[in-house]
Amino acid sequence: MATPLPDSSQKYDLGFARWVYENVKGGDQLSMCMQCGACSGSCPIGTDMDHGPRKLIMMIRAGMKDTVLRSNTLWNCTSCYRCTVRCPRGIPVTSIVQGLAAKAVSLGYADEVVTSRFARSFWWSVTHFGRTDERLVTAKFYFSFGLAEGIKRGLGNLKIALDLILKGRMHLGLPHKVSDTGGLQAILEKAAEIEARDQLGEDKS
C-alpha cells in the first residue's frame, strides 16, 4: 500500500521520506546518506543552489516537504552526474533530484519554473512528432512567456539561430516525425495512465 503524501508535517515525521522512498526514482536509497557533502561539493553550479543535494536529503528525512519541493536545487541540476559517481554510499543523487523535480511539476509546485515550461514544450514536441524539433521546442518555450517576451528571447538568440540555419544545422519546414505517431501517442498515454494508477495513494492525499 503506497504511502500518501503528507500535507504538512511535524519535523522528522517520516511520512514524506517514505513517500519519496516509494515514488521517486532512487528515493529508496536516501536512507543510506551519511551527510558527507561530497555531492553538494561536486556540483558545478552548487553555488546557485539554495540547499544542494546533501541538505535536500537531510530535509526529506526531516519531513520538510514544501521546502524540498520548492527548492531551486531541483531546477539547477545540469545532469553532470558527478554527485552520483562520487557518492561514497552509491546513492543515485542526480535521479533523486530530477525525480523530485518531476514530482514538483506534477504536484503543481513549479508552474512558473522555466525548466518546467521548457519541459512542457519539449514534451509537446515528443507527443506530437515522437521526436524533438529543436526549432519548435525552443520557439514554444520562448512564447510560453507570452508573445512579447517570446520575441525578445527569440531575437536574443537570433545570431545563433541564423548560424545554425546557415550551416544546415537547424531543420526548417515540416518537423521530422516517427511514421507511427498514433502508436507512440497511445503508448505514452497508456504509460501515463499506469503511472497515475500506481500513485493512487498520492492522488488521494
Binding site: 511535524q10 519535523k11 522528522y12 517520516l14 521520506a17 536512507s31 543510506m32 546518506c33 551519511m34 551527510q35 541538505k55 537531510m58 530535509m59 528525512r61 526531516a62 554510499r89
Partner: protein
C-alpha cells in the same frame, strides 16, 4: 658464586675503520701491559668465523671465562658475540669512536683507550648472573571476574594446559552478557546482530576440568609474587587461602549512573531507559513501553548520554554506537512499522563495523547529527540539529533510550574504599580519574560509604580536594608497600601506559584485560583475554626459571641487599616502580624476586649503596669511572661523563655514529639500565675524580613519560634536583651536572646536545677538584 674467579681476555677488532681511527697497538698495550689482562688478541675482522674462533678457543680451553670484545656497539653483531656460558663485555670502539671521531687524532685515541679501560674494569667486577628460584612455584592462574572476558581468559589458559581458579563475586557467571538479547556482529559479513553465545561459553568453561569456578567469592587479600601469590578468598563466611602463579583481572565495567542524567529525562519517566535496561525489554515481538505496555512505535536513541562530557565521563565508551545500532535493528526488524532515530554527535563504527552502520541505514533507521538539550517527563525531546543548523523538538516519542557509557570496575564498588597509600595516589592512581573519586566519609560507620558510587561522590579535579579516595575497595587488596590497588590510570581504567606493550603491568604477574582496561566490545574483550592469558602463563614460567619479565625478558640477575649496613630508609621499597620490595617485621627490605624487573631503581635509590646486581652495581660503575684517565687542567682537555639509558639514548648515540655525525671526543659514555639506577655515588665519584661535567641522557618523564620502567627517568630528575645543593656546598656550579631528555629518534640532535654541553662546561671552566 663467591669462589668464582673471573678470567678476562681482551679481543680487539681492527675492522670497520677502527684500525684506521686509532692505534690498536696502543690499545693492546693498555690491556696487557697497563692493566695486565692475561690474554689479549686482535683481528682485522673479529666478527668473522676466524675471529670468533679465536675467542671460542680460549673459552673452550678455559683460559678465559669473561671475554671483552673491543669492537662494535653491544647492540651490533650480538649473534656473533654470544657465547655459551659466558656473556661478553663490549667496548664500543666503532659507533662511539671510529665512526664519530676524526681518525688518527690524540683525543680519539684517548677516547678509545678509556672505553677499553672501562670495559676491562666492568669485566673484572662482573659475575655471571644466575637465579636460584627456591621453593614451590604454582602453575595455576587466578582469573578475577567471570564475565565474557574472565570466562574466555580461563578457557584459553585451560586449553593451553594450565589450571585455573575463576573467582566471581556474583552468585552466577556470565556477567552483563547474560542480559544481552543479541550481540554485535564480529564475523563476516558484519551486518546483522549475532546470537548471544554466552551460554555456550559458560557451558564450555564449566565443562573444562582444569577450571575451578568460585561464585559469590571475594578476594580479600593478595600477597607474594608471580609463581607464589597467596590469595585469601571469602566465600560467604568461609575464608580460604589459595596459591596461584599469576593473576588475570577481568572485572569489567558498569554502566554510568543514569541517575545523574535527569536533564535527559531519566527518572522522570519510566519510558526513558538506558541501553542496558532496553536489552531486557528486547524480545522477538514488537517493543513495548514500560509505562503502559503499549507498543513503542517511535524510539529515539540518545548517544553519548553522559559521555564526551567533562561533567560526567570525558571519554568515549567506544561500543555505544554499535550497541544502539544493534538494538535499533532488533526493534525495526521486530516491527518494520517502527520509527527509530539515533541522535549522535560523532558516529563511531570503526573498522568493519561500518557495514553494521550501513545495514542500519538500509533498514530505515534515521541517523541525526545532533546534541540533545533536554528530555521532558512527557518525553518531549529538544536537540540542536547540527546539520539543519536549528533547534528541533521531536514531539513525544514512545521511548527514549540513553546510551550511557562504561565505567571501569578498576575498583570494587561493592566494598568499602580501602586505605589508599598517599604514595599510590600520587604514582599509580590517576587523581583525575573520573570514576569519580569520592571524598572520604569521615564517619566510617556511616553506611553512605557502602552505598553505590556516584551518589555520595563527586569528581575531584586535579585531586587537589581533601583526602580523595576511590569509590569502592581494592580488587585484589594487594599487600604491597605501593598500596592495595592495581594501578588506575587514564580515565580511571587499568590500562597499560604503553602503546607498543599493552600488557605491560606495574604489578608483575597481574594482567588486566577487557573493559576494565579500556572500553571495548565483547569480541575485542575475548581477544584481549587470550592475550592476557598468555602473558600470565609467561609470568608463571618465567618465575619458575627465576627469569625477568618484560622488558629485560629472561634476565637472571637480580638485586641483592647488604642488610648489614641498611639504614631502613625505605627508599628502595617506596621507589620501586613495580612494588617488588617488601619489608620484614624489622623494616628491612626483602625482595620478592619474581616481581622484580631488574631496572636497578632500588640500586639508584640506596644512599648506602648496599643494593647491587652480580653484573651491575654501584661499585662496578665506580670502578669504571675510576678507570678513566682524567688529564689535568693544563692539558686543556675537559672530561665529560655521560650516563646513557641503554634503551633509547644509547641507541641514539650509536645511530649518530652510524650516520658519521661527529661530536666532542671529551665525553665518556657509560650505558645504564635506566636513569633510575644511577646512584648519586657515581656523580660524586666522578666529580672527585675531576670530571668537569656530567650528563644524564635518558627518556622523557612526566605524564607522557617514555621510561620503560615507569618512574626511572622521573626519579633521576628528582634525585638530581637535590644534587644542586650538594654542588653548591662544594663550591661547584649546578650546571656541571645535567639531565637531557634524549629519545631514540634523536641521533640528529646528539652532536648539538653533546657539543653544547661541552661548551657550557668550557665556559664555566675546569673542575677545581681536578688532580686532588
Amino acid at each position: 658464586m663467591s669462589d668464582y674467579i673471573t678470567r678476562t681476555g681482551v679481543y680487539l677488532c681492527q675492522g670497520c675503520g677502527i684500525g684506521d681511527a686509532v692505534s690498536v697497538d696502543a690499545l693492546e698495550q693498555i690491556a696487557s701491559t697497563e692493566l695486565k689482562v692475561p690474554i689479549c688478541r686482535r683481528h682485522d675482522f673479529l666478527c668473522s668465523n676466524e675471529g670468533r674462533a679465536l675467542i671460542d678457543a680460549d673459552l673452550v680451553g678455559g683460559d678465559v671465562n669473561q671475554p671483552i670484545v673491543a669492537a662494535c656497539s653491544p647492540r651490533a653483531m650480538t649473534d656473533r658475540f654470544t657465547f655459551d656460558g659466558a656473556t661478553a663485555v663490549r667496548a664500543n670502539l666503532r659507533e662511539q669512536v671510529a665512526w664519530s671521531q676524526p681518525a688518527g687524532e690524540e683525543d680519539t685515541q684517548m677516547l678509545a683507550d678509556d672505553n677499553l679501560r672501562m670495559a676491562i674494569a666492568q669485566a673484572t667486577e662482573t659475575l655471571p648472573a644466575s637465579a636460584e628460584p627456591e621453593g614451590e612455584y604454582s602453575r595455576t592462574l587466578l582469573v578475577l571476574g567471570a564475565g565474557t572476558t574472565g570466562l574466555t581468559a580461563a578457557l584459553e589458559a585451560a586449553r593451553t594446559g594450565y589450571e585455573v581458579l575463576l573467582v566471581e563475586q556474583q552468585d552466577h557467571v556470565g556477567g552483563w552478557a547474560n542480559k544481552w538479547s543479541k550481540t554485535m556482529p564480529h564475523l563476516p559479513p558484519y551486518r546483522d546482530p549475532q546470537a548471544n553465545s554466552t551460554d555456550e561459553l559458560i557451558a564450555a568453561t564449566e565443562a573444562e576440568p582444569a577450571i575451578t569456578i568460585l561464585t559469590g567469592a571475594l578476594v580479600t587479600k593478595t600477597e607474594g609474587g608471580p609463581g607464589k601469590f597467596t590469595v585469601t578468598i571469602e566465600l560467604g563466611d568461609e575464608s580460604r587461602t589459595e596459591h596461584v602463579g599469576a593473576i588475570v583481572v577481568a572485572t569489567g565495567w558498569r554502566p554510568y549512573d543514569a541517575g545523574k542524567l535527569s536533564h535527559l529525562g531519566y527518572g522522570q519517566s519510566t519510558d526513558v531507559v538506558t541501553g542496558v535496561e532496553l536489552e531486557e525489554m528486547l524480545g522477538e515481538g514488537p517493543l513495548q513501553r514500560k509505562s503502559d505496555d503499549k507498543p513503542a512505535k517511535t524510539v529515539v536513541f540518545v548517544q553519548c548520554a553522559g559521555s564526551l562530557d567533562p561533567d560526567h565521563l570525558p571519554y568515549c565508551s567506544s561500543v555505544c554506537c554499535g550497541v544502539s545500532i544493534k538494538q535499533a535493528l532488533q526493534i525495526i526488524r521486530a516491527d518494520p512499522g517502527a520509527n527509530v532515530y539515533i541522535l549522535f554527535q560523532e558516529l563511531r563504527t570503526p573498522g568493519t563495523a561500518e557495514e553494521f552502520y550501513r545495514q542500519a541505514q538500509e533498514a530505515g533507521i534515521v541517523f541525526i547529527k545532533g546534541k540533545v538539550r533536554s528530555v521532558s517527563a512527557d518525553l518531549g525531546l529538544v536537540y540542536d540539529d547540527m546539520l539543519l543548523g536549528e533547534e528541533v523538538s521531536l514531539q513525544n516519542p514512545d521511548l527514549v533510550v540513553l546510551a550511557t557509557g562504561m565505567v571501569p570496575n578498576s575498583t570494587n564498588p561493592h566494598i568499602d574504599p580501602a586505605e589508599t597509600g598517599a604514595d599510590q595516589l600520587v604514582s599509580d592512581v590517576n587523581p583525575n580519574a573520573p570514576l569519580p573519586l569520592a571524598i572520604r566519609v569521615i564517619d566510617n560507620n556511616d553506611d553512605k560509604s557502602k552505598s553505590e558510587p556516584g551518589e555520595n561522590t563527586e569528581a575531584v579535579n586535579g585531586g587537589a580536594a581533601a583526602e580523595p579516595v576511590l569509590p569502592g575497595g581494592a580488587l585484589l587488596n594487594l599487600q604491597y608497600v605501593q598500596g592495595p590497588h592495581i594501578p588506575i590510570l587514564t580515565d580511571g581504567f587499568s590500562d597499560s601506559h604503553y602503546l607498543c606493550f599493552p600488557y605491560e603491568t606495574r604489578r608483575t604477574g597481574i594482567y588486566t584485560c577487557g573493559p576494565v582496561r579500556r572500553p571495548m566490545n565483547m569480541a575485542e574483550a575475548a581477544e584481549d583475554a587470550a592475550g592476557a592469558a598468555l602473558k600470565a602463563i609467561q609470568a608463571i614460567e618465567g618465575a619458575a626459571r627465576g627469569a625477568a619479565m618484560h622488558p629485560r625478558v629472561g634476565d637472571l640477575s637480580f638485586p641483592k641487599f647488604g642488610l648489614d649496613i641498611c639504614t631502613k630508609c625505605r627508599r628502595c621499597t617506596i621507589e620501586c616502580p613495580f612494588g617488588a620490595i617488601e619489608e620484614d617485621e624489622r623494616q628491612f627490605p626483602i625482595l620478592i624476586e619474581s616481581r622484580c624487573r631488574r631496572c636497578g631503581t632500588c640500586m639508584g635509590a640506596c644512599p648506602v649503596r648496599t643494593i647491587s646486581f652480580d653484573n651491575y652495581s654501584p661499585h662496578m660503575v665506580s670502578e669504571m669511572i675510576a678507570a678513566i684517565e682524567v688529564p689535568d687542567e693544563f692539558s686543556e682537555k675537559p672530561r665529560i661523563l655521560i650516563f646513557a639509558c641503554e634503551n633509547d639514548a644509547y641507541p641514539a648515540l650509536d645511530m649518530a655514529g652510524l650516520n658519521r655525525y661527529q661530536y666532542s671526543a671529551f665525553v665518556r659514555i657509560i650505558p645504564v639500565r635506566c636513569l633510575g639506577s644511577i646512584n648519586l655515588l657515581w656523580i660524586s665519584t666522578a666529580l672527585e675524580k675531576g670530571f668537569d661535567g656530567i650528563m644524564l641522557m635518558g627518556c622523557k618523564s612526566g605524564d607522557d613519560y617514555q621510561c620503560h620502567y615507569i618512574k626511572g627517568s622521573g626519579l633521576a630528575k628528582e634525585r638530581l634536583s637535590k644534587v644542586g645543593e650538594t654542588l653548591k656546598s662544594l663550591m661547584l656550579e649546578e650546571e656541571r651536572v645535567t639531565l637531557e631528555e634524549v629519545s631514540i629518534a634523536d641521533s640528529g640532535r646528539i652532536p648539538e646536545v653533546i657539543n653544547g654541553f661541552v661548551e657550557t662546561i668550557e665556559a664555566i671552566g675546569f673542575n677545581p677538584f681536578k688532580g686532588f
